[in-house]
């Protein structure tokens, strides 16, 4: 990208009155920036995490419930070449056709069978994606969902990067309860809208000042902080006139304004750091849903760039949702494979000729991302070694089932993870998926011993 000169354009300023206030800061809230972390050698290298979700479950013709059925002696049956699971038995990995794209990454991936969120059981097949990254008990005590894993991490380490987190999805926005279009939630009732337009994401990440001079941006931010202060005071006096019960509701509002103030402060501090220079060669930001492969790879590329430039360390990506009707997502499988019908139908009908190919196509896109991280050296290893990547769905083969998710964990070998196995958590070994979340958070230096309904950590994936 060409470096823009910082000349002061009076007319631009008049036209864009207060534009600085709208500075699209992704989700860079959390605490105001502390020490700026410069990418350097050794143990100060960043620790990253991505949670990526795919919709409609996956093809598992041998075991629709997501775990091997007990009455078929597993030794008698060959593993299905198009099952989403790479191999039949727990133990060292081998790869079938569906999972073939991951074969070159054998030592960087693990598969986890038999895990799920109890909070999603009752949500139903079209809604359990809501809690994929949160584990919230939405039919019970947490009707408005709860904080997602990436945001827990962002609250602790988000101040080290320009943006605390990056929330992407193929459809954009928040959706609503039961039909979420984002994986990330700041807390109960606070879904974070996902971004879905590549050009917009790029601009927000790498061109946040929209061509304005940095001094000008700073002045705008200073003014903005004062205004938010006034609004805050204004709202406080309003709150005092309300009844006790209603004050709680206004606190919600006041907290939001305070968070905006912190965001301003944070953005202002980051103006002292130069923006990263991005090589946009090969990046097609104009891509549309009509070219699913180009589009999804572009989204993955943007996450890669955000990680590579250390613009953020925590990201989520929701690829389609169970509620994508009326959108081009409905036609993905048609564009990619020539499947005659809505993509959603693959989940219900599980046609033998398309289901496996569809899974394989999705695997290819994800493997592309892992490979890209893997091929990029960092410190004494590569970027994948310092990035945890969880990839999965909230349903198995039986598309309305909300148990036994297909799950793959990749990367993080330098963060204490060990790969190359299929782990099974069935019967007496069954534990909440949240246990994995505890271990993932610990691996990126978030000291929690509990997440949602967790009962401990998941040592199986640790080296």
């Amino acid at each position: 990208m060409k470096q823009k000169s910082w000349h002061f354009d009076r007319r631009e300023l008049l036209k864009g009155g207060g534009v600085a206030l709208a500075l699209p800061m992704l989700n860079g809230m959390g605490k105001a920036m502390g020490a700026v972390n410069r990418v350097s050698k050794g143990n100060r290298l960043p620790k990253r995490m991505l949670v990526s979700y795919f919709a409609y479950g996956a093809y598992m013709p041998d075991s629709p419930s997501g775990i091997a059925s007990s009455h078929v002696k597993t030794s008698e049956k060959e593993h299905h070449p198009w099952s989403w699971w790479p191999c039949r038995d727990a133990g060292p990995l081998s790869f079938n056709q569906s999972s073939a794209p991951f074969a070159p990454l054998k030592d960087d991936v693990s598969y986890l069978r038999g895990l799920d969120h109890a909070g999603g059981w009752k949500l139903g097949g079209h809604s359990s994606g809501d809690v994929f990254a949160t584990g919230a008990d939405m039919m019970g005590a947490e009707k408005t969902n709860n904080t997602s894993i990436d945001q827990v991490a962002a609250q602790v380490h988000g101040d080290k990067t320009r943006y605390a987190s990056l929330v992407l999805g193929t459809e954009g926005g928040t959706g609503s309860y039961g039909s979420c279009k984002t994986l990330s939630h700041r807390g109960p009732g606070r879904p974070i809208p996902s971004l879905h337009k590549p050009q917009e994401i790029f601009n927000r990440l790498f061109n946040p000042y929209a061509g304005k001079g940095v001094e000008q941006v700073r002045a705008g931010l200073k003014r903005e902080a004062s205004i938010l202060d006034l609004v805050l005071e204004h709202s406080r006096s309003f709150k005092n006139r309300l009844g006790k019960e209603d004050q709680g509701k206004v606190n919600e509002y006041l907290d939001s304004i305070r968070a905006l103030e912190q965001r301003v402060e944070r953005t202002s501090k980051w103006t002292h750091q130069p923006l990263p220079k991005i090589d946009t060669k090969g990046l097609n930001l104009e891509v549309s849903h009509k070219e699913p492969e180009e589009y999804i790879r572009c989204m993955y590329d943007l996450i890669f760039l955000a990680f590579q430039t250390d613009s953020t360390r925590f990201a989520t990506l929701m690829l389609e949702s169970e509620q994508s009707s009326n959108s081009e997502m409905w036609n993905y499988a048609t564009y990619v494979l020539g499947y005659q019908g809505a993509t959603h139908d693959i989940a219900h009908k599980r046609p033998a000729d398309y289901s496996g190919k569809w899974d394989q196509w999705r695997a290819k896109q994800h493997a592309y991302f892992l490979q890209r991280l893997h091929d990029t050296p960092e410190g004494d290893g590569n970027m994948l070694d310092r990035t945890l990547v969880l990839w999965g769905s909230a349903h198995p083969h039986a598309s309305h089932s909300t148990k036994n998710y297909p799950l793959q964990l990749a990367g993080g070998r330098h963060l204490g993870l060990k790969h190359g196995q299929l782990h099974e958590f069935v019967g007496a070994k069954k534990v909440p998926l949240s246990n994995l979340f505890v271990s993932m958070l610990n691996a990126v230096d978030v000291a929690v011993d509990k997440f949602a309904d967790s009962t401990g950590a998941m040592t199986e994936v640790l080296g």
Binding site: G18, G125, T144, S176, H234, L242, G248
Partner: protein, 849 residues
């Protein structure tokens, strides 16, 4: 130690009370009535299924204690009361208590509940503070700013739950992302509302089409200025008029000269204008927004000039693309569409195009003119309303801004503002002024900040002065009946005082319902209450219903539903909303919801239902005859399609709909692990009709049967209404393979009818015995049963739905007796719907939610 002493005293007091009450002979509210009469009743009739061993419906009663006054388990008590009063429990196949026994228990519960509620109503209820829904937000901005802008696309969606309203306080939370989006949206709106002083140049463009024969495309013989149905030949107006270099904001005007040719003798042709992307690319990623519809009745000998207006901001601009190293300009395309539709839907759309149907009406468009921004009045009215003319503006600028803020904020906050509140924003203004320089730019930003305050974004029940209570009531009324802020008259009455009087409320409610803004309320309420939107996404089986939808004939989207034109499904939603609106307008009885002597139809709908003599696309009241099998909500296409599979009727969906939306029951969702019926039925013509067999499966499993025995029979009488909402008494024989529809053999409509006759050889079974009711043979008998035995339940349900919508929270046991009061008053009015809306607005719950 002191704590323990207190505790002892407390225990003593408690036992004392107990002793005293046990000692009295009266059947009191305390333990004795429970022990003597209720507990034995529970033991005999309830505990076996709702007790320590089984807890069907997740309800257990053995842990209930006998003292309602402590306020424990009241929701459960209310459940029990409902079940006993309605007679739905104990189940029919179990021994039944006598009426007297039933009565003793219900009276005991009623008395206890009442006492508790009377006592508890002293305490404050749950908070009902909630933000404006997106629907309310957009309407409020429209009325506050005086221009219509599409604003909510970028806001987080409102919570959505079938049969529930999206304004429930509990689920409406606010977060920083949301506030940030509100701010972005407010800025966008203010940029449109406040203009710069210099009058902009008006952009104007015009295109003409002559009557010479076109020589392009397959419709060669048509004159160039004509638009056949769904046709967009090159070089004709149907292909759209592209514009570039247009202004980005402001009001626009489209003028055009048009007429119509009616070879078939029709008298009216709807010509719709849409604007946005160019529609000639075969794709569904394009976006267009309708500008308006004109109904042409004039022939080309008497061409007429028509005019449509709108705001440019609301239309999707097609971004310019790079072409040979040069960036092409952004464009907007204005496309006139001939949307004439007489309901003679056509297979695969093949016969729709000219010249295959030479007698279908065609629109003639001689020229189109586009003009923007309109500057006849400059600055525009919406600008002047905020930055009004005043000598103060020059003489005392600060005082002027103070006045501007006072006026604007009073309307934004829906009540008079205090000087302190205004001063705060005067400070904001002062902060912004040095940098933004002009008055206009500064006031834009200042007012955008006003629009993110809680006073604007939240509905509130403020404490304090009597003055504000009238303003709050004004807001309650306007958000209920308009989904928007109060108008000048409501503000006026609130300022004067006396809005609280029942007569004044009635007067205002009637006035507001007559206002066009009430259409928003009816539409929003009806869509959510009846869970209508889902009908738009049910995929209709093309093999079974080849004539129901228009399909794209060729290209990469061949076989998909034709986008960008109104479809029969849109008309069906209009039908249902229009039906409810008609009931309110005529103050008709609630019984019309179940059965009515009229339907709201236009030509495509009438053709669909087989009603003759309706011409044109305007919805109107049409008398129904028995052979139409119409009347009421139950047989409307929107309901039947939304609660079907697209291939077959779905008795369970329809039963759930009837019980939830009409009878007001809460139907539990099935356990997550149960496979859905639709997974195995409806893929093909042969499989489409075997749902009844699947229902029978339910009965063989106790876990299913417990619920389905009370559910399925409600859906069976709907069976003669097929998946596209048509009366279809005969179907192919069970298990037979039917031949597919053959375009060549069954070319015209008569052929299609013959085809249907040849495959539909068996009468549909629609007999069922209604739970706790009689045998009904078909829909007509079901309606009769509902109107005789369930009229009161239906009326109470409608009260509850409207009240929940009106006050923005779920009703609880606390509201039970208030609702009973409204019900009693209403029963005296024969359950006339408009009267009930008045009664709701006059009720205590509505005024102090």
């Amino acid at each position: 130690m002191r704590i323990r002493n207190h505790f002892v005293i407390f225990i003593q007091l408690l036992s004392h009370t107990l002793l005293v009450s046990l000692g009295t002979a009266q059947v009191g509210q305390q333990g004795d009535g429970y022990i003597v009469q209720v507990k034995p009743f529970f033991q005999t009739h309830c505990i076996r299924c709702h007790g320590p061993e089984k807890s069907k419906s997740e309800l257990t009663l053995h842990t209930l204690d006998g003292d309602l006054a402590l306020g424990r388990g009241l929701e459960r008590w209310e459940n029990v009361l409902d079940a006993l009063e309605s007679g739905s429990m104990p189940p029919e196949d179990q021994p039944q208590p006598s009426e007297a026994e039933r009565k003793i228990v219900t009276e005991w519960i009623n008395q206890g509940l009442r006492e508790f509620i009377d006592h508890a109503s002293q305490e404050a209820a749950k908070s009902t503070v909630r933000r404006l829904t997106n629907f309310e937000y957009e309407n409020t901005m429209r009325d506050l700013l005086g221009i219509e802008l599409d604003l909510i696309e970028d806001l987080p969606q409102d919570p959505l739950k079938p049969y529930h309203f999206n304004n429930s306080a509990e689920l409406m939370l606010l977060g920083p992302e949301q506030i940030n989006r509100y701010l972005e949206v407010a800025r966008r709106a203010m940029a449109s509302v406040i203009v710069d002083p210099a009058k902009p140049e008006t952009y104007k463009t015009r295109q003409e089409w002559g009557a010479e024969e076109s020589n392009k495309g397959f419709a060669k013989s048509l004159p160039r200025n004509e638009i056949a149905i769904q046709n967009s030949r090159r070089g004709t107006p149907g292909q759209g008029m592209g514009i570039k270099d247009f202004p980005k904001t402001g009001e626009f005007r489209i003028r055009f000269q048009a007429s119509a040719v009616f070879p078939n003798g029709a008298t009216e042709l709807p010509l719709r204008f849409v604007m946005g992307y160019n529609l000639n690319v075969n794709s569904s990623t394009q976006e267009v927004v309708p500008v308006g519809v004109v109904h042409l009745r004039n022939s080309p000998r008497e061409p007429q000039v028509y005019e449509l207006r709108g705001r440019i901001e609301n239309y999707p601009v097609q971004m310019g693309r790079m072409h040979r190293g040069k960036l092409r300009p952004d464009t907007l395309t204005i496309t006139p569409q001939n949307i004439y539709d007489d309901g003679s839907l056509n297979d695969d759309n093949r016969f729709l195009y000219w010249p295959r149907q030479p007698d279908m009406p065609r629109a003639v468009v001689d020229w189109i003119e586009f003009e923007a921004p309109l500057t006849e009045v400059w600055p525009p009215t919406h600008h002047n309303r905020i930055l009004f003319d005043s000598p103060l503006r020059e003489s005392e600028p600060r005082k002027y801004i103070h006045e501007v803020l006072t006026r604007f904020m009073s309307r934004a906050y829906r009540r008079p503002v205090t000087v302190g509140e205004v001063d705060r924003f005067l400070e904001v203004y002062d902060l912004l002024k040095p940098e933004l320089a002009t008055l206009e730019a500064t006031i834009r930003e200042t007012l955008a900040m006003v629009l993110v305050t809680p006073q604007f974004l939240l509905h509130t029940k403020a404490e304090g002065g009597v003055v504000e209570q009238d303003y709050e009531l004004a807001s309650s009324l306007s958000y209920f009946l308009w989904g928007s802020m109060p108008d000048a008259e409501l503000f006026g009455v609130a300022a004067k005082g006396g809005l609280d009087e029942p007569e004044e409320i009635e007067k205002q409610v009637l006035r507001m319902l007559a206002d066009p803004r009430a259409n928003d309320f009816v539409s929003n309420f009806t869509n959510q209450w009846l869970s209508l939107p889902k009908m738009k996404t049910v995929p209709i089986n093309r093999d079974l219903f080849p004539r129901f939808l228009y399909y794209v004939e060729a290209g990469e989207r061949a076989g998909t539903e034709r986008p960008y034109i109104p479809t029969i499904r849109d008309h069906m939603i209009d039908e249902t909303v229009g039906f409810v609106a008609e009931l309110i307008r005529r103050n008709a009885s609630v019984t019309n919801l179940v059965d009515s002597d009229f339907a709201m139809l236009n030509q495509p709908l009438a053709a669909h239902y087989g009603v003759k003599g309706v011409e044109g696309q305007r919805l109107r009241r049409v008398a129904v005859k028995p052979e139409h099998h119409l009347g009421g909500l139950l047989t409307q296409g929107s309901i039947l399609i939304g609660n079907g599979t697209g291939s077959a009727p779905h008795p369970i969906y329809r039963a759930v709909w009837l019980r939830e939306a009409i009878l007001g029951d809460k139907v539990k969702p099935p356990p997550a692990e149960v496979p859905a019926l639709t997974d195995s039925a409806g893929d093909s013509a042969e499989q489409a009709l075997t749902i009844k067999d699947l229902l029978a499966k339910h009965r063989t499993q106790e876990s299913c049967n417990d619920c389905h025995v009370r559910l399925d029979p409600w859906g069976i009488p709907f069976e003669r209404y097929n998946a596209i909402g048509k009366y279809q008494p005969r179907v192919p024989k069970e298990g037979t393979r039917v031949r597919g529809f053959d375009l060549k053999r069954d070319e015209d409509l008569a052929g299609y009818a013959r085809y249907l006759e040849s495959i539909n050889t068996q009468e549909v079974q629609s007999e069922a015995r209604v739970p706790h009711g009689p045998q009904v043979d078909d829909m007509a008998q079901l309606k009769t049963h509902l109107l005789t035995a369930r009229k009161q339940d239906i009326a109470e349900n409608v009260i509850r739905r409207l009240l929940t919508y009106g006050i923005g929270r779920e009703l609880t046991y606390r509201d039970r007796y208030e609702i009973e009061n409204i019900f009693t008053d209403w029963a005296e009015n024969d359950f006339l719907i408009r009267d009930m809306i008045v009664l709701i607005c006059q009720s205590q719950i509505f005024r102090t939610p």
